[in-house]
Symmetry: C2
Amino acid sequence: MSEKIVAGIDIGGTNTKYGLVDEYGKILTRGSLHTPDYADAFDFAKTISDIILKETEKLPGTDLHGFGVGSPNGNYFTGTIEFAPNLPWKGVVPLAKHFREASGLPVSITNDAKAAAMGEMIFGGARNIRHFFFITLGTGLGSGIVCDGKIVYGHDGFAGEMGHMIVKAGSNRLCGCGRHGCLETYASATGIRKSYMKFLAEKDQRAPIDPEQIDSAFIYNQAKKGDAAALRAFDYTGEILGLALANAVTLFSPEVIFLFGGLARAGDLIFNPTIKSFDENILKIYKGKVRIIPSSLNEGDAAILGAASLVWHDLKNVAK
Amino acid sequence: MSEKIVAGIDIGGTNTKYGLVDEYGKILTRGSLHTPDYADAFDFAKTISDIILKETEKLPGTDLHGFGVGSPNGNYFTGTIEFAPNLPWKGVVPLAKHFREASGLPVSITNDAKAAAMGEMIFGGARNIRHFFFITLGTGLGSGIVCDGKIVYGHDGFAGEMGHMIVKAGSNRLCGCGRHGCLETYASATGIRKSYMKFLAEKDQRAPIDPEQIDSAFIYNQAKKGDAAALRAFDYTGEILGLALANAVTLFSPEVIFLFGGLARAGDLIFNPTIKSFDENILKIYKGKVRIIPSSLNEGDAAILGAASLVWHDLKNVAK
């Protein structure tokens, strides 16, 4: 009997990564290409499909069962990518259809954070957990919400935008969405940079390096050295994130909240103030019931595994 | 063939109402008893069961299929009522078990807002809607969240406490839960009273009647007469409710938000500012997709219908 494998494709504004993934979450082969080189979406899908099909042939005894795609603004229901500002294709792009035509195989698409949440459920720390949040603290804040073992898509596929909860009404922090005070203007790499600059300014402190060079890694290193503004930026970020998570928990009552992405790698610096604020703000009936822990997915693999897990989820559900 | 009917029981701190309900949501018979008269929970369940069984006998050709119970702090998963401050039974009460033993029939329990949401889905305006919020604006703010046709219970049965999202960090409004700034300290009969008193005080205006007598009905009448503080209290309530709903929508992406309860009966006075704030605060991808409308359930029947619909939901799902 041949071994089932699936393709996981993670589309980013700069690079698209792909891999072939077995049912245990092992990435058998991987590669990437430069997304902006493909002005035509069908051409893009055809190129990747051809590579994947060729790579599959090099793995004797395997049988490719489908393509899972994680993409900014990917819509699971329609199989389209809709108005993604950082991708070369404008408007609504029927990318699942393109991949299906190019490969002749089943294709599932969703957005990157939902794909990663699925990866956590199929291959990571959420294998036996039916109610959890998966939060990506990257440039923005992405979220995949799992309720009773299913990703929450909402009626149009666009549920789960926790980064766009307005956490400070009247805030002057402009979000990429055009509004002000969204959670991701505070709890993200971009957000913590804003907080750090604010705390520096409040103390009339000059930035220790060219402000253009300041990113969350720099703030992390400053905090490790004991810099007060950097430490305060982490505390403030955690304070706001902890309250927002406590609010979201009152709606879903999950068991676990996984934090993932660059900012989550700061460890105690971000987890401690987040958990402290969460505990202070959580409704009593949930107290002590919700764990806030790091994602168990390896950062380099998460996107491909997440995309692949879309297909694995369907295959395993069908097999049941 | 006999006609299937079910019992709906709505437990309140003062009165417990019950009724026999047919599959079209018609209440065939109804009654009530005084909850505090029953210090013993089994005695309570036995008394109601006996009445219901007797009432069923008076309806020839009907066949009673189960008991649905809506109660403060009712837990669907465990069939218990847990630490309900306004009920005579302390701690964790196995009320579903008591009803089952007393009646020999299947029993489902949930909290009152979730039961009413189920009523809206089975008998009301949500019959063809798979993603919606049902918000009760009563003394507090209750909510039932329906995602893909299912009530959101969370891992422990306690999801859907929208009234306890903290909407104003640092607020001095004390909530019944012991924290400050919860949505229900603003958007509820209690909340609008606080806002009205605040706006009166800000204008150095004396309360037009004994402050003890001021309730949401009085504020409604004042607003209808053009009283500035009362009008502002409605606007302020809607402003805060609209933002909170916009935030909750980013997580669930529902199609409809039903408002129910005393405050919802104020009509345009509460709907207009709520919808205005919602539209101003909603993330662009949801704009124009979410309707905020009154519940179609009759206020006097909603609780019994909601409780009964717990059983109807199971019966109809099994029948599918």
